[in-house]
């Protein structure tokens, strides 16, 4: 599937069943990159103020996301940010707000390396962004 990074996702298509922690298919080339964290060779996150006690880095980066619609809910399961793929092990919080008539959905997620992110899905723009990352 030249140029495409997403597999066929449903049982019966030859791929494994999709689910959190299911050892599902590798979705992007270069998956399995180094753990995220300042100073680990990961991508630069932006300079925080010296001595700043704030541990969340505010961002507004576009990301690619694979999500499932299940139990009348939308749930992200993987995302790609700065060429690195993060498999979400837990959604630790989800909420939404109205922007005019449109819904913006927020997801606090933890990946398999316990990195913490906040993802945002804008229904009007039909796009995903990463709005926060926890930096230690």
């Amino acid at each position: 599937m030249g140029g495409r990074w997403w597999p066929t996702l449903w049982a019966g298509d030859g791929g494994p069943p999709l689910g959190v922690g299911d050892g599902g298919p590798t979705l992007w080339a270069g998956d399995g990159g180094p753990p995220l964290g300042v100073g680990d060779g990961g991508p630069p996150l932006g300079v925080g103020k010296l001595g700043d006690k704030y541990m969340y880095q505010d961002l507004n980066d576009p990301i690619e996301v694979i999500a499932v619609f299940t139990d009348h809910r939308l749930r992200p399961i993987r995302f790609k940010w700065r060429d690195r793929v993060h498999k979400i092990s837990r959604v630790t919080g989800s909420w939404k707000k109205l922007e005019g008539e449109y819904i913006v959905r927020y997801f606090a997620v933890v990946d398999e390396e316990t990195n913490v992110f906040q993802l945002v899905y804008n229904e009007r723009l039909t796009d995903w962004t990463i709005s926060k990352v926890w930096v230690e």
Binding site: Y54, M55, W95, K97, L98, G100, E101, T114, V116
Partner: protein, 425 residues
């Protein structure tokens, strides 16, 4: 049972048990004994932040502004409170008191969303829910104990529902009045449950300092201490005539509240009185003497206030400007008109006049600006444009509704008035 209100069903249940009916009414007043529950979420914001981020579990957390700027503490986790940190404290001071504290910005959209989820849960237990803040609410549970076996069971059922659905704990107080229920919920925190009857009020509540009573602020406290009232029990025992002499009608009401009597019912959202004023204020990111920046901020605030009034179909005729100087001296200046307004530009012109007069009083820089409108009244629906209105006047009258329609569809930030741009979020 179909079509009957919740209260009808409870009354019917009670009527079917005639032997119990007499005990539900006060011999003193003849009124039904009311039972009120107060629910107070434990370190609400901090608990939500902790749930979202496993790195914060068990750590001392402060939610609010940055200690690098002018931030204040919204909430501190229990691990942090033992260092003396509390809501409203400057973040800088909080950092000095607890250098190992982790500061996290507020996520207001999430807190508001979860607060709405909590209200949905409360409504499973009572149709009368009065949310007094994002993390506190009163429930009228009169006649509900039978449905759960006891008030304790009802309290535990509510706590369990909140814990299972939202992974949050709360402290609950149950008493005959709202004030006593609020005092009760604070007795054992966090994750507490306190049920008070008359004996319980005497043994648990009366020895508490009178400052713990809702409605006793610093000024009232000074006067109470002057007349020898130090505990809630002292206040309950004080003759009502004496309290009325010192404080007027409020004093008598305070005495009755301490006695567990004479208080308002739990009000549902439909029963709450109309707002008396609407306003917005802003602490500037730095002290400002630039008049253009101040005017832009005032324009922005007027836009927000007027928008809110129009959204709720209100107009007002008293406009108040609040101004705080860099030395924290605060002044307010107000003007009342004969006619009501909800027009952004009109409001701004009024506020500008007040501001021009106010800044003449001092050369100091300005720290905070606020605008509020009172003497509100509901507007007529679809007021017509005047037959002889000029085209300019018509365009002006259509500007606000047009901008409102755009914001209703696409959100608040879709359009900004040019002059507000300097000061916008």
């Amino acid at each position: 049972m179909f079509g009957r209100s919740w209260q009808d069903r409870v009354d019917g249940f009670i009527e079917s048990r005639p032997g119990e009916e007499a005990s539900l009414f006060s011999e003193k007043t003849g009124r039904r004994h009311r039972r009120v529950m107060h629910v107070d979420m434990d370190a609400f914001f901090a608990a939500l932040e902790e749930n979202k981020n496993p790195h914060l579990a068990g750590k001392p957390i402060v939610v609010g502004g940055s200690p690098n700027g002018r931030g204040v503490v919204s909430t501190a986790s229990y691990a942090t409170r033992q260092h003396g940190i509390h809501s409203g404290m400057s973040a800088r001071k909080a950092l000095r008191l607890c250098p190992q504290a982790i500061f996290v910005g507020s996520e207001l959209e999430q807190y508001t969303y979860v607060s709405a989820e909590l209200i949905n849960i409360y409504h499973r237990f009572s149709p009368k829910v009065e949310a007094t803040s994002v993390d506190e609410a009163f429930l009228d549970i009169t006649g509900c104990a039978h449905l759960y076996g006891s008030e304790e069971n009802l309290g535990y059922a509510l706590k369990k529902e909140i814990r299972d659905r939202l992974s949050l704990t709360c402290s609950v107080g149950i008493a005959p009045t709202k004030v006593m229920a609020k005092v009760a919920s604070a007795v054992f925190k966090p994750d507490g449950l306190t049920v008070l009857d008359e004996d319980g009020i005497k043994s648990l509540v009366y020895p508490l300092p009178v400052s713990k009573l809702w409605g006793v602020g610093p000024a009232t406290l000074i006067v109470l201490e002057e007349i020898g009232i130090k505990t809630i029990g002292d206040l309950a025992a004080c003759p009502l005539d004496l309290l009325k002499k010192r404080f007027g009608k409020c004093g008598e009401a305070l005495g009755l509240i301490a006695q567990g009597e004479g208080e308002s019912a739990v009000l549902s959202s439909a029963e709450l009185p109309l707002e008396k004023s609407m306003g917005h204020e802003r602490t500037l990111p730095f002290d400002v003497d630039d008049p253009d920046y101040q005017k832009a901020t005032l324009h922005y605030l007027c836009d927000k206030v007027a928008r809110r009034m129009r959204r709720h179909n209100f107009a007002g005729r008293t406009v108040t400007l609040k101004l705080r100087w860099s030395d924290f001296k605060t002044i307010t200046r107000a003007i009342t008109f004969s006619h009501h307004t909800d027009d952004t530009l009109h409001l701004y012109k009024i506020v500008l006049g007040l501001w021009i007069a106010a800044i003449k009083e001092s050369k100091k820089k300005v720290r905070l600006l606020g605008v509020s409108v009172s003497h509100l009244r509901k507007k007529m629906d679809n007021p017509q444009l005047g037959l002889f209105d000029s085209s300019t006047a018509r365009r002006k009258k259509e500007t606000d509704p047009t901008i409102d329609r755009l914001r209703d569809k696409y959100g608040e930030s879709v359009i900004l008035r040019a002059y507000s741009h300097l000061a916008s979020d």
